[in-house]
């Protein structure tokens, strides 16, 4: 006999339920041996797959041949006339197709290149960011105010942190606003806005920007960190997602920040 909750338990395991449902599932699993066992099995399956299956990368020669193929295609399009030109340019030039922030994309590419070429000096602020992120992932630490409504989260910060960061729900783009939290590090109050992307938690920290510049992109203890300044605030987004996923959120926040700015 299968418990009626198995699909919900699975969704909980996959990070696909909201905070209220998550609580219900946790309570249910306390009483239901079947679902407790299921959670163990799900974790075991995931661990084994990620441990034993190869995370293969595309062979370099495939990359080269696709590059050639697309070059040919682009030349053919250029000779063939106008209709193909726009899409080809957009596809091959990441800064343009990555989003509205062309310039940001270029800066991003440059930042990444710089990051991979030069070893970063130790930066205590980034260590604080990692520490705060890891702490936040412990049970009961993630959010002080749970809400998927930015009109609840943003005013809450006004009373609890020195700063009022950009807050928006990007659920439609895959970044769900979970809530907010006030932290203290770097000798000042820091606002943390928490998003969920798939199974991953992304913390976006914001504090009053100091004189010290932070690297645009860095990796610490396996976490990816993107930093940027907007207005007088320093933002740092951190998560264990891939760069693409993290940049997806930073782009949205940039767009939301630009829209928010008083003109």
């Amino acid at each position: 006999m299968q418990c009626v909750e198995v699909l919900r338990v699975q969704a909980y395991f996959d990070g696909e339920v909201d905070a209220v449902s998550a609580l219900e599932v946790e309570r249910h699993a306390e009483h239901c041996a079947e679902c407790r066992a299921l959670l163990g099995h799900l974790a075991e399956t995931r661990a084994r797959m990620r441990e034993e299956l190869e995370f293969q990368e595309a062979p370099p020669q495939l990359r080269v041949s696709i590059d050639r193929l697309l070059d040919r295609e682009m030349r053919a399009a250029a000779e063939g006339g106008a209709p193909r030109v726009r899409p080809t340019v957009r596809w091959r030039a990441p800064p343009l197709w990555l989003g509205a922030f062309g310039g940001f994309g270029a800066a991003l590419a440059a930042g990444l290149a710089l990051f991979f070429m030069s070893p970063l000096a130790s930066n205590p602020v980034l260590d604080d960011v990692v520490g705060a992120h890891v702490r936040s992932l412990m049970p009961q630490h993630l959010t002080d105010v749970i809400s998927t409504d930015r009109h609840t989260v943003k005013p809450w910060f006004a009373g609890h942190a020195d700063v009022s960061p950009v807050v928006a729900d990007f659920a439609d783009q895959g970044y769900r606003l979970i809530g907010g939290r006030a932290d203290y590090f770097n000798q000042q109050h820091v606002a943390a806005v928490v998003y969920q992307h798939g199974a991953h938690v992304i913390n976006v920290f914001a504090w009053v920007a100091g004189s010290r510049a932070l690297p645009e992109y860095s990796t610490r203890s396996g976490y990816r960190i993107a930093c940027w300044k907007l207005g007088n605030l320093q933002y740092c987004a951190i998560s264990d997602t891939g760069w693409d996923e993290l940049q997806g959120l930073t782009r949205l926040l940039h767009a939301a920040g630009a829209a928010d700015a008083p003109r």
Binding site: M49, E52, L53, A58, P59, L62, I66, L69, H200
Partner: protein
């Protein structure tokens, strides 16, 4: 820079169960993606690209089936063989090369296609239900039930496998 090439390559390899055809499928997919870039309207690039990879694979399979000049009975046999039967393994799959493959990979290969793809997209590519639904072109509810069945089947297979083969005990 080619976005999501690694993910596209991995997905193609899993779909074809081999690396030989994956290269062709990925090339074709990137070409189609490049030509059809205007059809992407602000959605998720990775899900969109993997959808194209999946379509390219489906086309390749259809073409192979059409090209095969086997009589009808043979066709039928081919269709049967594409759903591996774990109780009576094909002697060829017992070859040295197949032996080398890791147990878990072999068990996953033996899952039905529609279960295998949701499982791999979820566990290996870490995609959300919504993204998986977009790639596999089924409702989210179907993604959830297939995922549950795939996970249960895989677990069943490996428990059976470990019980039957003492050397595989971990």
């Amino acid at each position: 820079m080619l976005p999501h090439l690694d993910a596209a390559y991995r997905f193609a390899r899993w779909l074809c169960r081999s690396s030989s055809d994956a290269d062709d499928i990925v090339q074709e997919a990137f070409l189609r993606a490049f030509r059809g870039f205007d059809s992407l309207r602000g959605g998720d690039v990775k899900a969109w690209l993997l959808t194209i990879v999946r379509n390219c694979h489906a086309t390749a399979v259809q073409q192979q089936q059409r090209r095969a000049t086997v009589p009808l009975a043979g066709d039928h046999e081919e269709a049967l063989r594409s759903v591996p039967d774990e109780t009576s393994p094909d002697p060829e799959s017992e070859s040295a090369a197949a032996e080398e493959r890791r147990t878990l990979g072999r068990l996953i290969d033996a899952l039905p296609d529609e279960h295998r793809e949701v499982l791999l997209l979820r566990e290996m590519e870490d995609m959300s239900y919504r993204e998986i639904a977009a790639v596999t072109q089924v409702p989210i509810g179907t993604v959830m039930s297939r995922l549950a069945r795939a996970r249960a089947a895989l677990r069943g297979k490996w428990l059976k496998d470990t019980a039957g083969e003492p050397r595989a005990v971990r």
